[in-house]
């Protein structure tokens, strides 16, 4: 092969070079993973729709079995955690690595990454805690993945008012409810564990900066996705 340099020919188009998706690989990888996770929840939610509308008997009325106000509070917690996640991202994008810092002339102090990520972790952990409490209560009342437990409080209610409590459909109700909310809770737990890991290995040692805070953005994408899934689940499982 000769090693001659190319003669300058300005009439030829510039050499095509395609730099990729224009985002860094961690973010692109998270997008692809979230696409995959969408399909996972689609399988669960799609099955729920098919099973629910495939039944001739109606399901339990909203609020008859499930504690809607408690879960509404839990939904509020998760939305708050999404807001604090945005605050955490905005803080580190401005280079605010600190916890709290006084602002001259203002009463409130300014929160940094350390504060807002901690708020997100706490809200997320509280969500999981409330969900566990909800599960314990429901199972105590007799609502299990297999339906209403015989002889339980709910089974008696269902005998008295079979339409309102969906006596004929309690098995499918329990199956879909625990599977969908359980896997969502599992996703939240994974997110909380990942954020805790980042908090101790990257955030407290102040390894993120205004120039490089990829971990925060990537976990933020995941967190908002999990939040969005919950809003869908809350609507279709608890409210309708």
């Amino acid at each position: 092969m000769t090693h001659a340099t190319a003669t300058a020919d300005q009439m030829r188009p510039p050499f095509p070079a395609e730099p990729g998706a224009g985002v860094y690989s961690n973010k692109l990888g998270m997008w692809v993973f979230l696409a995959s996770d969408v399909m996972f929840f689609t399988a669960l939610i799609g099955s729920y729709i098919v099973l629910r509308f495939g039944m001739t008997d109606p399901w339990a009325a909203p609020g008859a079995v499930l504690n809607v106000p408690l879960t509404a509070f839990n939904t509020f917690l998760l939305i708050c955690s999404s807001v604090s996640m945005v605050k955490a991202y905005a803080a580190i994008a401005d280079g605010k690595k600190y916890f709290l810092r006084p602002v001259p002339g203002k009463m409130l102090r300014d929160g940094g990454l350390k504060l807002w990520l901690l708020v997100t972790i706490i809200c997320g952990a509280m969500f999981v805690g409330v969900q566990l409490l909800e599960y314990t209560k429901l199972i105590g009342h007799g609502f299990t993945p297999a339906g209403f437990r015989e002889g339980s409080q709910l089974a008696e209610h269902a005998l008295a008012d079979p339409v309102r409590f969906g006596a004929a459909t309690s098995g499918m109700y329990g199956s879909t409810f625990f599977t969908m909310t359980g896997f969502h809770g599992f996703h939240v737990t994974c997110g909380v564990i990942s954020m805790l890991y980042l908090y101790f290995t990257k955030v407290l040692p102040e390894k993120y900066s205004a120039n490089d805070h990829r971990g925060i953005e990537v976990i933020g994408l995941y967190w908002h996705f999990v939040d969005l899934v919950w809003i869908i689940l809350f609507t279709i499982v608890y409210l309708i």
Partner: protein
């Protein structure tokens, strides 16, 4: 190859800059994409052998029902009595043969091995985008395989519901008689799905973001295109199977009733979920084979691939249509007949891109300067066998024809023509082709040719008669065809199939010998043994850790064979700079954090 030096400084130093590592870091817990590919190769060849052993036992029972199986005495009483296979064990064999071959042999051989090994080498990068996730993907796949294998060693044995795990048989231990093995199947599939998703996230990200300067989308080899589209299919299809397997597992463990009609569940739901995954899965199992065969046929024909762009669009078209056809597995399930017609039309449409590919391969070979090396022979075997499998696929896509053919040996013949005649022949082409890049030595050419002819002949004697006995009415998965009067006249064909199958299995020993012997004794490979254009051949054999010290520039597409610019050589590698070539703009590293 002086022109290779024109390169941009890599994001992190590759090649010789890597420090020497301990044996464990280098070969066991390796994050190097090439070692991970080789790990996948050994593990999936092992599972291929396991699947083959199961198939031999199935063929013994079908060919010689009621006769003691040679070596059957070593199996426990719960499987074999006086050397005769029990029906309970026979259905386990059928189930696990399908499961192992689809999930743990062909899928990891095509995707685990060649996506890992080829993508960074062919697009010109140091490693995968996420090397540690890649390593986790391999270990999770191995764990999943071992969990699946454990099914044979637990009380009640392996699952008995067939590899498609139709509910409610699979969901109710009281119906199938299997408690633990069935749960292990679900757990293993969930783990395998996670492994597959982790791998595919890696492949997609790497191909989009880590191509060498000048490696534009339409300069990518078709193997990389096929692996890219396959990864997209895997990322979207596997989670659906995971969701379904989790529901099936919950039905058996925590008392849910998703697939149990008595409690209001829907058995048909399982079929919809399984085949919504299952049909894209079929293309996961064939697209990488098509891609690699395209590379090898262009090389063996010494001509540019015929219709490169149409090949790419055919891959994309097959992958897209693959999402719309799952119902053709369920014509007989009681699904709405109108829906059946829709699925029939969408299925017949897939014949169009598939035929484009076959004609393009023929067009590539037409009047080419053919080189009949072992990879080329197996690639031609792929094209011819895939064509037969594709044609029988069109039979079954038509609902009226499928009604009598459904669930017979005709279906078994079809799946083996595309999966063995297709995917496995492509692997017999790909393994010797990239063997020098993996191990620095060539596989023996003469043994390879004997292996090809023996395999090709015994393979056709094994699977072609299955069409005939299938049309004669032999159902698949039946334990003993001789108990049915109308099947008795076909029994000589069953004997012929079984004897051919044993010969086919024995022929694979030649391949195993060639593979293992060449590791140590094979001829040392020259740098570019096949006179190929791919970027991977700019590296020494085997390729060093980190691949290139400096990423090469890419100046043209991968199929410039017999180009006039090449001078005396009949090939023009992608990395060679001619005086008329311009340097590509350096790759732009995406800004961090934005």
């Amino acid at each position: 190859m002086t022109s290779v030096a024109h390169a941009t400084p890599g994001a992190h130093g590759g090649g010789a800059h890597h420090a020497p590592m301990s044996f464990w870091r280098k070969y066991i817990f390796s994050t190097d994409h090439k070692i991970i590919g080789i790990q996948f190769l050994f593990v999936s060849l092992f599972f291929l052998l396991v699947g083959g052993f199961l198939a031999m036992q199935i063929r013994w029972q079908l060919g010689f029902p009621g006769k003691p199986m040679p070596g059957g005495g070593i199996l426990p009483e719960s499987m074999v009595v006086n050397g005769v296979i029990l029906p309970e064990y026979y259905i386990q064999l059928v189930t696990m043969h399908g499961t192992f071959m689809v999930f743990f042999a062909i899928m990891p051989l095509l995707v685990g091995v060649y996506a890992n090994f080829l993508i960074p080498l062919k697009i010109g990068t140091h490693d995968m985008a996420f090397p540690r996730i890649n390593m986790a993907s391999f270990w999770l796949a191995l764990l999943a395989g071992l969990i699946m294998l454990a099914g044979f060693f637990v009380p009640d044995g392996a699952p008995r519901a067939g590899w498609t795990m139709y509910a409610p048989l699979s969901a109710r231990p009281d119906l199938s008689g299997v408690t633990i093995g069935q749960k292990l199947w679900c757990i293993s599939i969930v783990a395998l799905g996670l492994s597959s998703v982790m791998g595919s996230v890696n492949y997609i990200t790497t191909i989009i973001n880590h191509r060498a300067p000048g490696m534009t989308w339409f300069r990518m080899p078709l193997s990389v295109w096929a692996l890219f589209i396959t990864a997209i299919l895997a990322v979207l299809a596997l989670p659906v199977l995971q969701g379904a397997a989790i529901m099936l597992l919950f039905d058996q463990t925590i008392g849910t009733h998703f697939f149990d009609p008595i409690a209001g569940g829907q058995a048909l739901l399982w079929q919809h979920l399984f085949w919504f995954f299952g049909h894209p899965e079929v293309y996961i199992l064939i697209l990488p084979a098509m891609g690699m065969v395209s590379d090898i046929i262009a090389n063996g024909s010494r001509k540019p691939i015929f219709g490169y762009h149409s090949m790419v669009f055919a891959i994309v078209g097959i992958a897209f249509l693959g999402w719309l056809v799952w119902g053709h597995h369920m014509f007989m399930s009681g699904m709405n007949p109108t829906l059946g017609s829709t699925f029939m039309v969408s299925t017949l449409l897939i014949a169009v891109p598939s035929a484009i590919k076959v004609f393009n391969w023929l067009g590539t070979m037409w009047r080419g300067n053919l080189r009949f090396h072992v990879p080329m022979m197996n690639a031609i075997g792929f094209v011819s066998m895939f064509t037969i499998g594709g044609l029988s696929g069109i039979f079954m896509a038509a609902t009226p024809v499928d009604i009598p053919l459904h669930d017979t040996q005709f279906i078994v013949a079809h799946i083996h023509y595309v999966l063995f005649g297709g995917s496995l022949f492509a692997l017999f082409a790909a393994i010797p082709y990239w063997y020098p890049k993996m191990f620095g030595r060539m596989m023996d050419e003469r043994i390879g040719k004997i292996h090809f002819w023996l395999t090709f002949i015994t393979y056709n004697f094994t699977f072609f008669p299955m069409h005939i006995i299938g049309m004669g009415g032999q159902m698949r998965r039946i334990y003993d065809p001789t108990v049915y009067d109308f099947l008795k006249p076909q029994q000589p064909l069953n004997v012929l199939i079984s004897i051919s199958a044993f010969a086919l299995f024995a022929s694979q020993l030649l391949f195993a010998f060639n593979f293992l012997w060449s590791l140590k004794k094979g001829k040392r490979a020259p740098q570019n043994p096949w006179d190929d254009n791919g970027l991977e051949w700019s590296l020494p054999n085997p390729a060093p850790h980190g691949n290139w010290e400096q990423i090469p520039n890419v100046y043209r597409g991968p199929y410039e064979f017999s180009a006039p610019e090449a001078g005396n050589a009949d090939f023009l590698p992608q990395y060679v700079k001619l005086p008329t070539d311009r340097d590509p703009a350096p790759a732009i590293a995406p800004a961090a954090g934005h």
